[in-house]
Every structure is written in structure tokens, then in C-alpha cells.
């Protein structure tokens, strides 16, 4: 990292991302164990050698307070390894990596297990305040007349639950759902429904190809439930999707006149990814092979109603700092929260006005070729378990760099609430 020690990435693993419907077979902490056990088993060091464990997660379950610690203990890191949880909405996983990298760069840590997790299918469903109030009255009602009176006060409205997942995917300050912010961008940059759907089809096609080519070997660990089933692939993939089918889907966020559909948005999924980060000392001490370095990380804020442009705002200053142009980045992972949102990012860099007014540049930053973005699919096809994606795209980017024998990559994502995060990774091409 800039101004500090080198931060190596030693290894990493993730679970398949599983489409969420009913509460899935794995809770968030179960996913951390499933992905982490084989990862730790193949390391030459013992799990208690970590200096700390850092985990990003947006909505841990009720039994998963400080889920980082829960994961560390269940993975056998032992009681002496401290562990903590970070939350920066959709970038929680990347935030965990950033915290780990900074601590290593500063010399506070040498060996850190960091990652992100989300079991969106287990997002809590809450009682509304009226119901909580009624329950408290019920508990206080001691005699039969009071009980009957309280019972009579119960209304159907009491039973309306608060769906945690929906609330989590809405901006509490401006009152827009994430999908509606994507509709904003589509309008601003004139991105059509067809463009979005085409993007979605490409995403699925790339994932299909990657799965067929066995690209994810060494990255995805198969996971096993308790009912005799196992999962080895991201199961949101639709091999049969075409423009016609996608065109039939109705807009979900702006019902009648919008263009953002379930088909061109990231899928609600359960999943997690771990990375092992190490200092040079730790690499030498345990003779660890490395898959790359984390060289920089940048966070940025912007209008919450335009949150999808977060990658633009986070990446631009980082490029400037390193005196790099867009073309100097060999490969990109831009998290696909929405097809519209990724397309908007690319459009913003291309747009002179936007670059001048919002980024303070003299001219448009330039073009990013889609052939260098999300090579093996993204959130639309793979899924976007919010807390996990930041770690997944960094891990996958390193695998892409290796496969393409490339040097530099940037993984970036937009963050609900109006932020962007970007992480630069590099590997030595000589090797």
C-alpha cells in the first residue's frame, strides 16, 4: 500500500452464490465456515497464527452478533485471535480487506483473514412497532378482563411484518430504493431497457462460459447442506435467457414506466468470500505462495440518489494519484448492482460534462472497453450478496490477472447511501 509495507494476498476462497428464496440451507456464519475450512486446511500455518479476522456483513442473523468473531471461533482460530465485523453496506467485504490491508501496511498485523458474507435469504423479518407495543400490553395483562380487552385491541395491521431485506435495500435518508436510484441513472445517461437487457445477457453468457471452462476451480469451494445436497456453482445462472424473455419482465422498482427489472439487476443471493492477506515477513516466515498485492484503496461519497456512480467517484482520484489512465488498468471488476448502473459508470467517464462538473476534470476521462470488465460475469448473473461482493470481486480479479498474465486491476463497487469503493491490485507479470 501507499506509505506502508507491501500487502500480499496469499490465497482465497468463496462459496458458490446461491439464489435466495425461502431462508436458504446456510446461515451467514455457516457460509464462512464452509468457505474457510478448506482454505485454512490447505495453508502451511495453523489457524491460530492469524493476527486478526475481519469480516464484512450488512445484516448478520440474530445469533451472529459480531459475526467476524463467530466465524473465527467456528473456524478453529482459537480464543486468542481477535475478530471484528465491519459494515459499509454493499462494500462491507471490501471494507474488511481495506482494514486488513491498512493494518498490515502500518505494521500492526502480519497475517489476516478477511472477507465478506451475506445470507440475504436469512435477512430478519421484524414485528412492527404496533405489534411490539401490543405484546408488551399482553405481557402486562394479568387478569382475564384485561386480557380479553387487550385481545380485542389486536388488529390485522399489527401483523404486518417489516421485511428487513427490503428496508436494507432502501435509502433511509432520501427514501428511494436502490432500484430507483438506478432508474435515475438510466434517465440521466439515456440508457435504454434494451441496453440493460443486453448487458444482462452478456453477464449470463460470460458466467456460463466461465463455468464450462472450469474457471472457478481453486476459487469456489463446494458446500454441503445437512439434507444430502451439495452446491458447487453459482446457481443464479440462466443459460436460456434471451432478449425476448427478458423483455417480458416487468419493471420492479418504478412499476409502470421504469426499465430496471429483476432480469437486469443483481440477484438476491447467499454467499461469502475469504482472502488471506499477509505482510512480507509472514510470507517469508511461513513460505507462503502469493497471488498478488493490494496496492491501494479509495472511498468516495456522492449524491445518494446517484449512488450507482460510486465506482466513478472512487476510482478517478485513485487513478490520478497513481498518474494512471483508464487504459493502464488491465482488467476491471465493476460490481453489477444493476446493469444500468455499470453502464452509467462507463457513460459518466465518457461524458465530458459529467467529468468536468462532478469530477473536476478538464475533459472526459475516456473509454473502458467492456471486454476488460467483468470477464466471467457479475452480480446480474452471479448474484450480489451485499456484504460478500466486495471481497468476491477482489478475489476474482486476482484470478483473472493470473489467467491473463496481466499486471494491474481495479475492483470497484457502488454503495447504497451514496458511496463508492475501489481497490487496486497488482501482480508481478514476470513470474
Amino acid at each position: 500500500m501507499k506509505n506502508g509495507k507491501t500487502v500480499f494476498v496469499v490465497d482465497g476462497s468463496r462459496t458458490p452464490f446461491l439464489r435466495a428464496g425461502k431462508p436458504g440451507p446456510f446461515r451467514a456464519a455457516d457460509l464462512t465456515v464452509a468457505a474457510g475450512r478448506p482454505l485454512l486446511a490447505r495453508q502451511p500455518f495453523e489457524p491460530d497464527q492469524f493476527d486478526e479476522v475481519i469480516l464484512g456483513c450488512v445484516m448478520p442473523g440474530p445469533d451472529e452478533a459480531n459475526i467476524g468473531r463467530v466465524a473465527a471461533l467456528r473456524l478453529g482460530c482459537g480464543k486468542k485471535v481477535p475478530a471484528w465485523t465491519v459494515q459499509r453496506n454493499c462494500a462491507s467485504g471490501m471494507q474488511a480487506l481495506d482494514c486488513a490491508a491498512r493494518n498490515i501496511a502500518a505494521g500492526h498485523s502480519d497475517l489476516v483473514l478477511a472477507g465478506g458474507v451475506e445470507a440475504m435469504s436469512h435477512a430478519p423479518v421484524l414485528l412492527n412497532n404496533a405489534m411490539v407495543g401490543w405484546l408488551s400490553d399482553w405481557a402486562r395483562a394479568k387478569d382475564l378482563p384485561t386480557k380479553l380487552k387487550t385481545l380485542a385491541a389486536l388488529r390485522p395491521g399489527h401483523l404486518v411484518p417489516i421485511i428487513g431485506l427490503l428496508r436494507g435495500l432502501s435509502d433511509p435518508v432520501i427514501g428511494l430504493s436502490m432500484g430507483q436510484t438506478a432508474e435515475n441513472l438510466a434517465k440521466h445517461f439515456s440508457i435504454s431497457r434494451e441496453q440493460m437487457d443486453e448487458f444482462a445477457i452478456t453477464s449470463h453468457a460470460r458466467l456460463a462460459q466461465a463455468q464450462d471452462d472450469g474457471i472457478f476451480e481453486g476459487e469456489i469451494e463446494a458446500i454441503y447442506d445437512t439434507r444430502g445436497k451439495f452446491y458447487e456453482h453459482d446457481n443464479g445462472l440462466r443459460r436460456d435467457s434471451d432478449m425476448q424473455k427478458l423483455a417480458k419482465l416487468r419493471p420492479v422498482f418504478d412499476r409502470k414506466f421504469g426499465s430496471v427489472t429483476a432480469g437486469n439487476s443483481a440477484q438476491i443471493t447467499d454467499g461469502m468470500a475469504w482472502l488471506i492477506l499477509a505482510s512480507e515477513d509472514a510470507v517469508k516466515k511461513h513460505r507462503l505462495p502469493t497471488i498478488g498485492r493490494i496496492t491501494d484503496c479509495q472511498w468516495a461519497g456522492l449524491d445518494p440518489a446517484q449512488m450507482g456512480l460510486g465506482p466513478v467517484h472512487a476510482t478517478t482520484p485513485m487513478l490520478q494519484r497513481h498518474q494512471l489512465a483508464l487504459k493502464d488498468v488491465d482488467y476491471w471488476e465493476i460490481n453489477e448492482a444493476f446493469a444500468a448502473q455499470v453502464l452509467a459508470c462507463l457513460a459518466a467517464w465518457r461524458d465530458k460534462d459529467y467529468c468536468r462538473n462532478e469530477l473536476g476534470l478538464g475533459q472526459a476521462l475516456g473509454e473502458v472497453d467492456l471486454d476488460r470488465v467483468n470477464l466471467d460475469g457479475g452480480g446480474v448473473s452471479i448474484g450480489h450478496p451485499v456484504g460478500a461482493s466486495g471481497a468476491r470481486i477482489v478475489l476474482h480479479l486476482l484470478h483473472v490477472l493470473k489467467r491473463k498474465k496481466a499486471h494491474r486491476g481495479i475492483a470497484t463497487l457502488c454503495i447504497g447511501g451514496g458511496q463508492g469503493g475501489a481497490m487496486m491490485v497488482e501482480r508481478d507479470t514476470a513470474a
Binding site: P38, A41, R42, T226
Partner: protein, 723 residues
């Protein structure tokens, strides 16, 4: 009155130890004798008990049997307790708390060794009455008395606690209370039968005593056996509270007291007997019936019941069944003792890698994880591993119940296609299909990857160890670790060694076996080792009988009447006829003997037994549909002999070939490996008891009638010399 089952039960509770971080589990059971020293005025030390009196005038009596890790009630311990109680009675304390100074638990029961060889009912009755009189002294004290229970509180231990006015128990899962006497062929005799019924009523009390099952502190609280179940940190507080403000002693629910009425008892007794008869026949296991009779006759007269209780137990304990069941208990202890290493330095195995995710491999892996080890289970097929995880989860849920502990066990079990766990394993167990070459190749790879101290074991049931080990650089390393199916039920594990096998490795393997709460039986490598070799002639004879036209249910009934837990035809169906045929072919190849045609025919027709729904029997939801048995008159008179004597003859042959070391180990192996009628004390014991000459001549007659397969083995002659 016994500590049988103690370890068995402990196993279930211990499984959570390594990953368990709850404060309850971490907190050590109180060792009050040491802790309260500062505040205590007076301390009296005896050999097996410590007595202290605190500032509040409460006497704290701690059981601490000298030279033992676990408290048990020997005659000496009881006598000393009697003396101490006399002095306590004279000193009139504010109250008395009886507790244990041992971390292993309260008191695990009477000292079983003292019952061995009791032949005279009078002597036995005297011994029992002496125990009763000690407990009577507790009950007779004027002050409130409390038993503060942690860990095992079984048999005589619970009977002692029942003599106190109140009981409090540590709610830790390691606490187990019970009266498992029936498992030794007796029933509670130190007043436990009478006092438990008086405390919680006959239905609940009979439920506990007739099954011999043990219960947790919380279950005991629910039943009213203990007054409080509290965390360890409050155990002495609870005891003190009961003494300082004593409530009315616990009473059975009113409806249960009504059932104790003279006119209702016979009806309930009849019902109970019917229930028991489904599990144990009165001929083989008289104890539960004696207990029911005792209550029906004296249920409303505690004094008479106490006296008759002693007499009833005295009669039982001198009998055939109890003496043999005690023998079985001691054989079990003997097997556990085999695991001890010479220097007493205990090696703790932490990681196990199982190769082969079939039923056997998967269940071994799950069992090891249940016992607290870190386990990886390797198989090329993810489908198999998924099934392994499913079965493991079912097992953990059944044994551990609490979701948090189940999850910890699941976390210890890693499906491992790549074999990542191999490198760090302390024990590697191979359980792939029975193919010499495949196993050889596998072990070549394994040997390269594991550490120098790792135990390398094969679960083969039919391939001689030498054939596999010849592929290893160091053939002395390979040991056989032969589990039986189903792993979670079968306690026995054969530790198989060839001439080449390193003795130290075999010893460590036995220690590993004990660590995972199984019974190690050292056997010499040879066809079928011990258990399968002995079982096979018995199963084959059953098949022959069936082919001769004897109805299968009648064959099974003959074996069950003898005391086998399951008839041979039913057993063959359960094991799987393909597996039976495989083992039989394997054995006949080296030992000779014919394989019945019927068996081959069924296997060819893919009627493999329970797993396919059709074998000798037709299966409906896993249960055989048995046509009603034919009348005895039509059955061959030598039916039972033909089954059992083939088994005994094979046992004699194995003994002659030193497959196991001596008659005791033979008996232990056959009882725990095949379920051989425990009340007969094992095949060799049965043989000696019935008479070597008698059985030998019966074999000769059978050989004349049915052929050479009944020819007495050469080993009979050396038996004769002893007999």
C-alpha cells in the same frame, strides 16, 4: 448400584468438549473440600471421606475414595460412611451436605468387583442390608440433609442421594443420574427401589429403574428426583439454601399416589410386565420382573419393601444372569484397560482423516467428529460426501440434541474431495471398497504425505493385512481398525495386526479406539478376523436350515430364545446379503466350506435384504413381515444346536489359532461384536458352564447326521484338559 454405562453415557456428554466454550462447560465442578478451607472451623479427614463444618454449623461431607479417580461404594467406603454418620448424629449440625471431591462426578455406584462369585444368598442379603443400614442413618438424621450432585450419580450413588431429604444437581450436561442396576441383572437394593417410588411415584420411578436409563439434571428436576438443577457456580448456594430454609420434601403427583393403592398395583404391574417382555424375556432377564413383583407386593409398606428389596436383590445377584452380566461388565473394563499404554502417558489424538465416503467411512468419520475430534472425510464423489454430511447431521441431532452443539460437531467434520486433511492427520483410516490393488496404491500415496507418527489404518474386513502393507515402504506401520456396522451402535472395534505390525502402533491404535469411546479388541490378521469368522458359520447354517424348509421366523425364534439379540436370517438381511455372500466367499476360499445356493440366488436376483426391501423377508418401512411361526413340533429338534454349536466350534478354532488372546477376550469380542447373549457370559463361558464334554459329543452327533461342517475342531481337546 453400579457404574456400568458410566463411560457409555459420559461419551455422549464429552463430545462437545474441544469446541465448547460455554461458561458452564468451562467451569470446573466444585471441589469444595479445598475451597472452603479458609472459612471452615473444623476439618476431619478419614480415608475415603472428608468432613468439614462451616461457620453456619453445616456439615459438608465429601466423598473422595482413596486411590481411585471415580467414587464408588465399596464395603470399606460404606463402613466408613456409617461411622461418620454416627458421629454427625451425635454432633447435631444445622444440616448435612453430601458431595463429591472428585471432578469426575458424585458417586458412580457400588463396587461391582465385590459381587463377583457371590453364591450364597444369605451372605449377599447380609451385605445388602449393611448398605441399607448406612443409608437409613442418613434418613434418620434430625437435621436437613442435601446431596449436592455433579457428574455421575448412578446406582448406589443415587440411592445414597435418595436417602437425603433434598438433592441439588449441577445442570452441566455431564451430570447423569440413574439407577442402571437392571443392566447388571439386579435392581436397586440399597433402598433405592423403595425411595425413588416414594419420591416421584411408581410410574416415573419404574420407567427409570426398568430401563436403567440415565437422565440429565434438568430432566431429574422435572421428574422431581432433584429439587434444583443449577449451574455449578450455585451448587453449594442451593444446598445451603435448602438447609437454612428447608421446604416440604418433594411428593409424587396425586394421581401417581393413587396408583400405589393395593388394589391398583396389580393392574399396573401387569401392564409394566407386558412392556418389559417386549424387550427382555423373564427367563433370561429376571430382574425387571422381580422389581415389579416387589412393588406390587409391598408398594404401600416402605419398611417391608426395604427388607424384601434386600432379599430380592440377594436372590438375583447370586443367580446365573446377574453373575454373567457382571462378568460382561468386567470384560468391558478389561477391553478398556487394553488401551492403556505402559508408561501411562496419555496420547491425545486430535485429527482424523477418513478416506472413503461410503456408509462405513462416513459413519466412522461422523462418529469421530461426535467424539470431539477434527475430522476430514475424503471421497472423489461429492454426492457421497453430501450423504455423509446428511447422515452425520442426523446422528449429531439424535445424540447431542442442542442445535449449538450439533453445529459445533458439524463444524468439526469437513468434506474433503482433495484430501487436504491428510497432511495434518494423527490417524488416517482407509475405508474404500475391498480391492487389494486400490488399497495398495492409496497407502503408497498416504505414506508419502503423512507425518512419521501418524497411525495408518485400514478398515478392511476381508483382506489380510500383509497383502496391503507389502506396498508400504514401512509395512510395520499398517494396522487394521475394523469397525462394525452401524458404527454408532457397535461398541467393538477389532485392532488387527499381522506378524509384521509394530506392537507400539497397535497399542496406540487401541488407545485411539478408547478415546473415541469404542472397545478395542486386539486380533490377529486372518480370514474374517474374529467376529465375521465366528458369525459366518452361524449365518450359513441358518441359510441351510431355511433351504431345508425350516421357516425363517422359526430359525430366528430359536436364536432369540437362546438369547441372541436378533435371529440370524434377520441379521443377514440387515447386514445385506451381498455383503454376507462376499464375506462368506472370502472365508470359504481360505477356510473351506460350502456356500448355500439360496444365498447366491437371492443376491443374483438383487434381493439383498432390508436395503432393497426384499431378502429372506419382505420389508415394509425397514421392518420384516414375518409370517407367524410354525408350531414347535414340526421343527427339527437340533435346530438351536445346529446354529449355536457351529458358532461355538468356530470360536474354539479361533482360540486354538490364537486369533485372540485367551477365552476372556474371545467372550468379550463375541458379546460386543455380535451381541451374543450377554446373560450367558460369552461363548467360552457358556461352553465351560454347559460342559465341554457334553457339547463336544453333541457336535460329534451333528457331524454324523449333517456332515463334516460340524466336526469338532482340534481345539476341543485342549479345552477338555482344562474342563
Amino acid at each position: 448400584m453400579t457404574n456400568e454405562r458410566a463411560d457409555e453415557e459420559k461419551r455422549m456428554q464429552d463430545t462437545q468438549t474441544p469446541n465448547e466454550t460455554s461458561p458452564e462447560a468451562q467451569a470446573k465442578p466444585p471441589a469444595p473440600a479445598a475451597k472452603k478451607k479458609a472459612t471452615h472451623k473444623k476439618k476431619n479427614s478419614h480415608k475415603h471421606w472428608h468432613l468439614e463444618k462451616d461457620d453456619a454449623g453445616i456439615a459438608w461431607l465429601s466423598a473422595d475414595r482413596a486411590n481411585a479417580g471415580t467414587n464408588s461404594l465399596s464395603a470399606e467406603v460404606l463402613d466408613e460412611l456409617g461411622d461418620i454418620l454416627d458421629s454427625i448424629a451425635a454432633s447435631t449440625p444445622k444440616g448435612l451436605v453430601i458431595q463429591s471431591a472428585k471432578p469426575s462426578g458424585f458417586i458412580a455406584g457400588a463396587d461391582v468387583k465385590e459381587f463377583v462369585g457371590l453364591k450364597d444368598t444369605e451372605t449377599a442379603a447380609h451385605l445388602i442390608r449393611r448398605g441399607q443400614s448406612v443409608f437409613d442413618k442418613i434418613e434418620a438424621l434430625d437435621c436437613p440433609t442435601v446431596a449436592a450432585i455433579n457428574g455421575f450419580c448412578l446406582g448406589g450413588g443415587l440411592e445414597l442421594a435418595l436417602a437425603c431429604r433434598y438433592r441439588v444437581a449441577d445442570e452441566d450436561p455431564r451430570t447423569r443420574l440413574g439407577l442402571p442396576e437392571v443392566r447388571l441383572g439386579i435392581h436397586p437394593g440399597f433402598g433405592g427401589s423403595m425411595r425413588l417410588i416414594r419420591l416421584i411415584g411408581a410410574p416415573s420411578a419404574m420407567g427409570l429403574m426398568l430401563t436403567g436409563r440415565t437422565i440429565s439434571a434438568r430432566a431429574a428436576k422435572k421428574l422431581g428426583v432433584v429439587d434444583y438443577a443449577v449451574p455449578a457456580r450455585h451448587l453449594s448456594n442451593a444446598a445451603r439454601h435448602l438447609i437454612q430454609s428447608p421446604p416440604v420434601a418433594h411428593q409424587p403427583p396425586r394421581w401417581a399416589s393413587w396408583l400405589n393403592h393395593r388394589l391398583l398395583r396389580p393392574a399396573l404391574g401387569y401392564y409394566l410386565k407386558r412392556q418389559v417382555s417386549a424387550k427382555a424375556s423373564p427367563k433370561h432377564y429376571p430382574a425387571p420382573y422381580a422389581l415389579i413383583d416387589l412393588w406390587v407386593a409391598h408398594g404401600d409398606d416402605p419398611k417391608a419393601m426395604l427388607a424384601e428389596e434386600a432379599f430380592s436383590v440377594a436372590k438375583l445377584i447370586t443367580g446365573y444372569t446377574a453373575q454373567n452380566l457382571i462378568r460382561v461388565f468386567l470384560l468391558q473394563e478389561k477391553l478398556k484397560g487394553l488401551a492403556k499404554t505402559a508408561k501411562g502417558k496419555k496420547e491425545v489424538f486430535k485429527r482424523v482423516h477418513v478416506i472413503g465416503g461410503g456408509v462405513m467411512g462416513g459413519d466412522i468419520a461422523a462418529w469421530c467428529a461426535l467424539q470431539g475430534l477434527q475430522v476430514s472425510v475424503q471421497d472423489r464423489k461429492r454426492e457421497s460426501l453430501a450423504k455423509v454430511m446428511q447422515r452425520a447431521h442426523k446422528l449429531f441431532k439424535k445424540k447431542l440434541k442442542h442445535p449449538r452443539i450439533v453445529q459445533a460437531a458439524m463444524d468439526r467434520l469437513m468434506p474433503d474431495v482433495e484430501g487436504l486433511g491428510l497432511r495434518r492427520a494423527d490417524v488416517v483410516i482407509e475405508a474404500i471398497f475391498e480391492d487389494v490393488e486400490a488399497k495398495q496404491n492409496l497407502f503408497k500415496e498416504v505414506e508419502k504425505k503423512v507425518g512419521p507418527k501418524t497411525i495408518i489404518a485400514t478398515n478392511t474386513s476381508s483382506i489380510p493385512l500383509d497383502e496391503i502393507s507389502s506396498a508400504l515402504k514401512n509395512p510395520a506401520r499398517l494396522v487394521g481398525l475394523h469397525f462394525f456396522n452401524p458404527v454408532a451402535m457397535m461398541q467393538l472395534v477389532e485392532i488387527v495386526t499381522a506378524d509384521l505390525t509394530d506392537k507400539a502402533v497397535a497399542q496406540r491404535t487401541a488407545a485411539f479406539t478408547k478415546q473415541i469411546k469404542r472397545l478395542p479388541l486386539p486380533v490377529k490378521s486372518g480370514p474374517g478376523f474374529l467376529v465375521n469368522r465366528i458369525l459366518m458359520p452361524y449365518l450359513m447354517e441358518a441359510v441351510v436350515l431355511e433351504s431345508e424348509g425350516v421357516p425363517a421366523p422359526a430359525i430366528d425364534k430359536a436364536a432369540v430364545d437362546f438369547g441372541m439379540p436378533m435371529g440370524p436370517i434377520h441379521l443377514a438381511d440387515t447386514v445385506g446379503l451381498d455383503i454376507c455372500l462376499h464375506v462368506a466367499e472370502n472365508l470359504s476360499a481360505s477356510l473351506g466350506g460350502d456356500i448355500p445356493k439360496k444365498l447366491r440366488k437371492l443376491v443374483e436376483a438383487k434381493q439383498l435384504g432390508r436395503k432393497t426391501g426384499q431378502g429372506f423377508y419382505k420389508y415394509n418401512k425397514g421392518k420384516p413381515e414375518k409370517p407367524s411361526a410354525t408350531q414347535d413340533s414340526k421343527l427339527p429338534a437340533d435346530l438351536t444346536d445346529r446354529l449355536m454349536l457351529r458358532m461355538l466350534n468356530e470360536a474354539v478354532a479361533c482360540l486354538r489359532e490364537s486369533v485372540v488372546d485367551g477365552e476372556d477376550l474371545m467372550d468379550a469380542g463375541i458379546i460386543f461384536g455380535t451381541g451374543f447373549a450377554p446373560f450367558h457370559g460369552g461363548p467360552m463361558h457358556y461352553l465351560q458352564h454347559t460342559g465341554v464334554d457334553i457339547l463336544h459329543s453333541r457336535l460329534q452327533e451333528l457331524a454324523k447326521r449333517h456332515g463334516d461342517r460340524f466336526k469338532p475342531d482340534a481345539g476341543w481337546s485342549s479345552l477338555k484338559e482344562i474342563g
